[in-house]
């Protein structure tokens, strides 16, 4: 056991030796070491957050066929630092009639709900904050705190647009928690545990091969939870003048903005942990924990890129369509998928591996196809009712050719 195999334990023991030799009681030394660990993690995350701003702006520029920031520093790398300085020196306004305490706490809670998620992310088999055996529920709980912070932001701004934006955002968030929870139960069923580390250890076959529809629905629900396009009804600049964060300026707005980017990156990380094997890559993680960290960060970046890709390609969905999509399509589909996955897992797990993988994969494809057929039939019937049978048939005939 040396530094390259188990860095956290070695560092903790070394620091404990130093602190007890200074005469500190052991409990105090333990608490101090824990605080130092948390501080280090949060410092690294916030620096990463700054570079996520740069990544976001470069990627959106490429999707829009332009270059993005390229003036400040090589490839525009100094641009986020200029942004941070600008946000820090901006005037810190509070709207008249706003509720000062709630107004100031809301961005803090929003950032807190993102940072607290990193306590359960396993960066390597031995590097993780806390090996919680209910990690999946913890994910949902942190999302609830984020929801609360948005209501607080919208209400305390004393502004109609902020209120409407906050209400819509919270409605979307609590609605899409239902299919997300059902999809979070799929890795639980497949691996027999709710803890993140246990889920990764059981992924000899990546769960995306066993439940591709589950991975897709989780991605959709996660994008809705994040409040990013195409589900960003609350922040639509053209509809709601940027929703619940209208009245925020300066670093408080920076907290919301950077928090949203970090949240997207975190969910990219969770998507890769739950469905794409986390830090595992054909045994690379056993070589060194630092390689495992590199693997999981790489996969989280790919997940984040997919989330950005969706954001900058798709149009915004209307709020009633969003909610109808969730309650009438995603929720029944996700419950049927969960039941089917649990049943097939119990039936096929003992048999041959190829039968297992192909059976689960094909059942997912079959379920997705039949769900789309049902949706198509339903929409055809709606169209016939609205337009009259002959015209609808003509449209359908066109569509089929």
């Amino acid at each position: 056991m040396n530094f390259w195999n188990d860095p956290l334990k070695i560092a903790a023991d070394w620091l404990m030796g130093i602190f007890t030799s200074w005469g500190m009681p052991e409990i105090g030394a333990q608490a101090l070491i824990a605080f130092l660990g948390i501080f280090l993690l949060i410092a690294i995350l916030m620096v990463l957050d700054i570079f996520l701003v740069w990544i976001e702006r470069k990627v959106v520029a490429r999707f829009q066929d332009r270059i993005g920031p390229n003036r400040l520093g090589p490839y525009g790398l100094m641009q986020p630092f200029a942004d941070i300085v600008k946000l820090l020196i901006k005037e810190d306004t509070t709207p008249a009639g706003a509720d000062k305490v709630v107004y100031n706490i809301a961005p803090m809670l929003s950032m807190m709900s993102v940072l607290i998620l990193w306590a359960i992310v396993p960066l390597a088999p031995v590097i993780l904050g806390v090996d919680l055996n209910v990690g999946i529920l913890f994910l949902i709980a942190a999302g609830s705190i984020g929801t609360l912070s948005i209501i607080m932001a919208g209400w305390s701004s004393n502004n109609k647009f902020a209120m409407v934006g906050a209400f819509r955002q919270v409605a979307v968030m609590i609605s899409f928690e239902v299919p997300m929870l059902a999809m979070l139960l799929i890795p639980t069923v497949l691996s027999g545990s709710m803890g993140m580390n246990a889920i990764i250890q059981k992924q000899d076959i990546w769960f995306v091969a066993l439940a591709p529809l589950g991975a897709l629905i989780f991605l959709i629900a996660a994008i809705a939870e994040l409040g990013r396009a195409p589900f960003d009804m609350a922040e639509g600049e053209s509809e709601l003048v940027s929703g619940y964060n209208i009245e925020y300026s300066g670093m408080k707005f920076g907290m919301f903005y950077a928090g949203e980017l970090l949240h997207a990156f975190t969910f990219g990380g969770f998507w890769s942990i739950l469905f794409f094997g986390g830090y595992r890559f054909f045994g690379l993680e056993k070589v060194s924990p630092f390689l495992a960290i590199a693997v999981i960060l790489f996969k989280a970046m790919i997940g984040y890129w997919i989330i950005m890709w969706v954001k900058y390609t798709m149009l915004r969905i209307r709020i009633d369509h969003m909610l109808a999509f969730n309650w009438k399509f995603l929720t029944p589909l996700s419950f049927v998928l969960l039941m089917m996955t649990a049943l097939l897992n119990a039936l096929l797990r003992g048999g041959s591996t190829w039968l297992y993988i192909s059976g689960m994969f094909l059942s997912n494809v079959l379920l997705a196809w039949s769900a789309l057929e049902i949706a198509r039939t339903y929409s055809r019937r709606e169209r016939e009712k609205a337009e009259g049978p002959k015209q609808a048939l003509g449209v359908v005939a066109e569509v089929h050719h």
């Binding site: 209910v134 913890f138 709980a141 705190i145």
Partner: protein, 169 residues
């Protein structure tokens, strides 16, 4: 004073203080937010009792659903969200008397309890608390019947809510 006792004292102090602010706050939204703080304190106490699962479920259900429901209900039914109503009604002295009597009764009951000076025993190693909870909820000779009856109750509440809010076009 072990560390556990110190943490428990601090957490209960915060929880009780927030609960007091819930009932004495003039602004309803502030009261709802103090309630969130109280529920969070209860979740921390669950964690101190080695019931981590219950702590997370408390946050998800109470804070994530019930507190948000309270806040929505307040926001959607107030004409002016900063309205301040008087905090006490005419019978506040009766409420205070009942509270003091209840506290006195509980205090005298617990005075002779020996558990105050003991620490809780740890779980035996390999004790899967969540597994046991799951099995208790679905095993026929444990609690599956109350579990199913509770689900039917929730279904009835859901159907009732949809019926009340249904907008016949």
């Amino acid at each position: 004073m072990t560390a556990q006792q110190i943490i428990f004292l601090v957490v209960s102090f915060v929880t009780l203080g927030s609960a007091l602010m819930v009932v004495t706050s003039r602004n309803l939204i502030h009261a709802a937010l103090w309630l969130v703080s109280t529920l969070f304190g209860v979740a921390i106490i669950y964690t101190l009792l080695n019931a981590g699962f219950l702590a997370v479920v408390q946050v998800v259900v109470y804070i994530g659903a019930i507190a948000i429901l309270f806040i929505f209900a307040v926001m959607l039914t107030r004409k002016d969200m900063r309205d301040q109503s008087p905090q006490l009604n005419r019978n506040w002295w009766m409420g205070a008397l009942l509270a003091v009597v209840t506290f006195g009764g509980l205090f005298s009951l617990l005075q002779s309890w020996s558990g105050f000076s003991k620490t809780a025993a740890d779980f035996p190693s390999g004790f899967d608390a969540i597994g046991r909870l799951g099995e208790a909820l679905v095993s026929p000779d444990a609690f599956v019947l109350p579990f199913e009856v509770a689900s039917v109750l929730l279904l009835a509440a859901l159907v009732g809510a949809v019926y009340l809010a249904f907008n016949r076009k």
